[in-house]
Symmetry: C2
DNA sequence: GGTGCCATGTAAGGGGTTACATGATTAT
DNA sequence: ATAATCATGTAACCCCTTACATGGCACC
């Protein structure tokens, strides 16, 4: 059984031959937002895929610079299509910012505002990255890649809007509201 | 250095004493959507936290059923607050559905529609879960937990809307459009 | 002569899931 | 009876990240 990361490699190679370095670059400017991969995965995985006959490596050493270009085989392409066709949509998330915010009732208001601000800043950074990608390679993308990019942009816009309104709410509560109570309700005492 | 999962445990214990089983249940009905945890993490982590003096375990064996309840110590609470106050918002995602859709240009139109439908179905399932949580415990939540829940609901609603419009687009293209070309553009040939 | 990109790898370790193993208690 | 829930744990394994190590080539 191949890992999803193996399929990412196959997918990028199905467009044309690439080095490990090339694949890493492709991942970093596209799938990284929903599927990252490091050299520590890519190079060993290329070996395994070659051993399994799903890709072939060709020495393209130029001068003294080592360089191996990999190409997908018919077998590899078959496996890729099979994987693509099989509908599976597992989605896992690890959002440290959201986690802290979830428990932010433990904090005093100023710190809670700082927490939401950190999330907002982070989402803005990512949105900027996505917008840059859109601007630079947006019109070269096939309809699916384009749709996924737009989806990402929409998600982050939504997230930022939510951050803004929550932050605004916390700020008004803090300035106008009750003589600040660090924890705001009695239910915290009960187990 | 404690893992984020250790802090999740501390955070749940800061409300009141709990068994490993209790903590797992809490995680499953709340943080799981942005921070999951399994027994395989929780029980060993409880040991480590107890060894570090951040929590204390008390035997509450009833009859012949083993049961250890853990409570947070002042040290543990201090560490928790410290972690909560430190703004860090790293967010990682692994979305298999999106990954497949990203490469769906390799598929024929019917399979691509199946891929987006699978994503849509999955997002709907999750949205239903979130709505159930909202209905059942929605009004017991503190403002932060409530805000995070609303955020999740908003995100999934957005995702579903995007799925619907993309699917509609693919379906009209398929029925009306060109005499179906499996791969739709020439740029696929170039590396 | 230096910076930055091209290029390939490995080793250690962290974090996490899954499957297994066991058994008590409670509700139907 | 038997199914569901309460309750605890471990071992194997997987996937991945980080840090390190090395060096060529091109451009300024």
């Amino acid at each position: 059984m191949l890992s999803n990361t193996a399929y990412v490699i196959l997918a990028f190679l199905s467009v044309g031959p690439k080095t490990g370095y090339d694949i890493k670059a492709k991942v970093d400017q596209s799938t990284r937002f929903f599927w990252a991969a490091s050299y520590g995965q890519i190079y060993p995985e290329l070996r395994k895929l070659a051993d399994a006959g799903l890709i072939t490596g060709t020495e393209k050493t130029q001068g003294k610079r080592a360089r191996t270009e990999y190409a997908i085989t018919p077998d590899g392409h078959e496996r890729l299509i099979e994987w693509l066709r099989y509908p599976a949509a597992s989605c896992e998330m690890r959002d440290e910012g959201l986690l802290k915010l979830f428990f932010a009732a433990e904090l005093d208001p100023a710190d809670a505002i700082a927490a939401i601000s950190a999330i907002e800043a982070d989402k803005r950074r990512t949105l900027t990255e996505l917008r840059t990608i859109e601007r630079v390679v947006g019109d070269e993308l096939d309809p699916f890649k384009s749709a996924v990019l737009e989806y990402g942009i929409g998600l982050y816009e939504h997230a930022i809007g939510w951050c803004e309104s929550l932050r605004a709410e916390l700020e008004t509560q803090r300035s106008s509201g009750s003589t600040q109570s660090p924890k705001q309700s009695p239910q915290h005492v009960a187990g």
